[in-house]
């Protein structure tokens, strides 16, 4: 199988130049995870030269080419910074450096989402010393970096389920100042699940919006301030909290919709495993649990609001050595709503196979090719 460029030609029209204010849903299953595709979105947005043609440069350095350059905010609920950094490196993206250049921001929804920070002091220096030149570039995030927090009033959230006051995670420093010490490998904002239901979602939204605002504010004249938001498995929030915490499909949808307002395009990864989607339907032989009902409602509702749905699934005929899975691209419910007809150009519904190689490279090909 010939090696393909970082952005395989078949895939390129779908991951580049996403329509304004669109939502793209990327559905995955247990055996076919979508991280590689998320990384392709990341690559397409951050590597400016890839705008519309299939001639890609391997190096991540030529960000100053002409072309539509986007900024990216990646919110990950299941994977940490280390994973994304090392995987992006395989594509030639240096996320730590891009973070420095204010083109990329990572929001960590894994580390402290449901557990309180280990160190309790919250009154820290609001403005940490300016970063020196990257001594620790790309290094791991130190154990507990002092994040620039506002002195939080009220008690510190002990842990998720208990009702506590939402704690501002990342203060918004003046846009001119770097938001966090260099050592964190970028201004890594850590999300916290603070109180119950809507309030907690609101505080998450506020945190993410703050990061988006920082990126936008850092835009200079020559570089566009379009921001792409990548939400990696926000459905975890729904699954891990659920109706008993006043979070349901409706609240989640509203939350995502709220986030969409801040950015130009949104890509959301969702789990679409059989039990999570089909148990809720009446055909199921057993009673659906609230988890299943809400998840199905959220996933299906999102697909209806989406411009495109990229479905990843296992090969129907069982595992194979040279095929990792199937990618089905279909129009979402919001297809064709944008006024500009050209934005849909080159995108059509299709089903292709993909193969993720050991080195992280991906080839996308049609059946029989």
């Amino acid at each position: 199988m010939p090696t393909q460029p970082p952005l395989p030609p078949l895939l390129a029209p779908y991951v580049t130049a996403l329509p304004t204010s669109s939502l793209t849903v990327l559905s995955t299953v247990l055996g076919a995870q979508g991280n590689w595709l998320t990384l392709r979105y990341l690559y397409a947005a951050l590597n400016a030269s890839t705008a519309s043609d299939a001639t890609f440069s391997l190096s991540g350095d030529n960000n100053n080419n002409d072309g539509k350059k986007q900024k990216v905010v990646l919110v990950s609920f299941l994977r940490g910074w280390e994973f994304w950094r090392s995987e992006a490196k395989r594509l030639g993206l240096d996320l730590a450096r891009l973070t420095d250049k204010r083109q990329f921001a990572f929001i960590d929804g894994l580390s402290e989402l449901f557990s309180s920070p280990r160190t309790t002091p919250t009154t820290e220096t609001a403005h940490p010393p300016l970063p020196s030149q990257p001594a620790l570039r790309g290094g791991p995030i130190p154990q507990r970096t002092v994040l620039p927090t506002r002195s939080a009033p009220g008690p510190i959230p002990a842990r998720g389920p208990q009702p506590t006051t939402p704690r501002p995670v990342a203060a918004v420093p003046p846009p001119s100042a770097p938001p966090a010490p260099r050592e964190v490998g970028g201004p890594v904002t850590r999300l916290h699940w603070s109180s119950k239901g809507a309030a907690a979602l609101d505080s998450l939204e506020k945190d993410i919006a703050a990061v988006v605002a920082q990126l936008k504010a850092a835009a200079t004249a020559e570089d566009a301030s379009e921001v792409l938001l990548l939400l990696d498995q926000p459905d975890l929030l729904l699954a891990a909290t659920g109706p008993s915490k006043d979070v349901g499909a409706t609240e989640m949808s509203e939350w995502v919709m709220g986030l969409q307002q801040y950015v130009d395009a949104t890509v959301m990864t969702l789990a679409a495993d059989l039990p999570l989607i089909h148990n809720a339907s009446a055909a199921g032989h057993q009673m659906a649990t609230p988890l299943e009902t809400e998840h199905a409602a959220f996933a299906i509702g999102s697909a209806h609001r989406a411009h495109m749905v990229m479905q990843l699934r296992d090969l129907d005929t069982g595992a194979a050595r040279d095929v990792s899975g199937v990618l089905r691209v279909s129009k979402g419910g919001a297809w064709g709503q944008s006024d500009n007809v050209d934005t849909n150009g080159g995108r059509e519904e299709r089903e292709v196979l993909y193969f993720v190689q050991r080195d992280g490279g991906v080839s996308v090909f049609g059946r029989g090719e």
């Binding site: 055996g31 299941l78 994973f83 580390s111 389920p161």
Partner: protein, 399 residues
């Protein structure tokens, strides 16, 4: 080689009494700074060099997507159908391996008897395989780094056999082996009891009711135990039979209790500077895979394997399932639903993916091997022909 000396220093203790293992801590700390791979029981993955540790079951290490072990920072969810306890055996091997390697083992929700029933040490895993010994002499020497890639465990004969253990077979092989690198994986005997000085270091986390949610307490204790130990320590978190109603109260089976727990556990393992792995088992008969909760538990875990023991009625199949007469019949099927690292990247490129695996638990080992259906039961002639292996007689071919 510098690390060789260090290891000699580590294993010279004729009787590895408790003070020795305590003294080993700073030594590990010193060595971890320069060469993290030299920590006992941790080696770089042949695939991409990330540190991995053994599950205590060589054949399980072998199917974990080419890493030759469980990568540090990953969780393995072992699901089991039915009422058997094969997954429990896997957990015991995993815990026993941790004890032998001086890792810090945290056991959640089990009394101390569980730790006392860990299987006894026989020796390094490869020393038990006498086949390997025979081949050792005649094999062409290639660079030691690649030597290990072919067959798991070949070429790593260990000297680090604690002499406190009554391991008669282990001693000669260890002395005879030319290289003195510590063993990565050991073999254990289920009928014996593990006696090792560091077995007292097992950290039991009881499920005592308190005023906060149970699993929250468990996570806090795990967090505290891991945070308070030196950063060079390798941790193993053992969670037997998660959500089993005889151990866990019903409210912890709610998604909003167990999923945040697993998420926090994942966060803990992914924290920079923490070197830990976790193995969790869950009874599938009570929590079927078709339920959304279990699917979410799988999604949060890095690796998912499912054990499907053959029911008793399938004994006939099981006995004939062995390819040859001296091979033990398989006791069940093993399915890999998700492998650490591999699937997170996108998956699918593993050579072994898609194979049917069968497992056999014997006194000495838990073995996972490709499952092959035997010749049809009624097909006597076919079997005889295969057994004799002879060409058909000339007379049979003539018209």
């Amino acid at each position: 080689m510098s690390f060789r000396k260090r290891n000699i220093g580590l294993s010279t203790g004729g009787d590895r009494a408790a003070p020795v293992s305590a003294a080993a801590q700073p030594q590990q700390l010193a060595s971890a700074a320069s060469a993290p791979e030299s920590t006992p029981g941790v080696r770089p993955s042949p695939d991409d060099g990330r540190p991995t540790t053994s599950t205590g079951t060589p054949s399980l290490d072998n199917i974990l997507a080419g890493h030759g072990g469980l990568p540090i920072g990953k969780t393995l969810l072992v699901e089991e159908n039915g009422t058997t306890d094969f997954a429990g055996a896997l957990l015991r091997y995993y815990a026993a391996e941790g004890v032998v390697q001086d890792h810090r083992v945290h056991v959640v929700g089990m009394p101390e008897q569980w730790g006392r029933s860990l299987p006894g040490l026989i020796g390094p895993a490869d020393a038990v395989d006498d086949k390997q010994d025979k081949r050792k002499g005649e094999r062409m020497k290639i660079a030691w780094r690649y030597e290990r890639l072919g067959e798991f465990g070949a070429g790593i004969a260990g000297s680090r056999v604690p002499t406190a253990t009554p391991g008669e077979q282990a001693q000669p092989t260890a002395e005879g082996s030319p290289d003195k690198r510590p063993a990565f994986c050991h073999a254990f005997d289920l009928t014996k009891r593990l006696t090792h000085p560091s077995i007292a270091n097992l950290n039991y986390i009881p499920l005592a009711p308190s005023n906060e949610p149970l699993l929250t307490t468990v996570h806090k204790k795990l967090d505290a135990a891991i945070t308070s130990s030196p950063s060079s320590t390798v941790h193993r978190i053992v969670i037997p039979s998660l959500l089993n109603p005889t151990i866990y109260p019903p409210e912890s089976c709610q998604p909003d209790s167990v999923l945040p727990f697993l998420h926090s556990l994942r966060a803990l393992l992914n924290r920079p500077g923490v070197r830990a792995t976790a193995m969790i088992t869950i009874p599938l008969s009570l929590f079927p895979r078709a339920s959304g909760l279990v699917r979410w538990m799988e999604l949060i875990s890095d690796g998912v394997i499912e054990l499907c023991p053959f029911p008793h009625s399938a004994d006939a199949l099981a006995t004939s399932g062995a390819a040859t007469s001296h091979e033990e019949p398989p006791q069940g099927m093993l399915k890999t639903h998700r492998l650490p690292v591999l699937h997170e990247r996108g998956g699918g490129s593993d050579q072994k993916v898609g194979q049917d695996w069968a497992f056999t638990l014997s006194r000495r080992r838990f073995e996972i091997k490709p499952f092959s259906l035997p010749p049809a039961e009624g097909d006597k002639e076919g079997q005889d022909g295969a057994a004799s292996g002879a060409m058909p007689k000339k007379a049979d071919l003539e018209f």
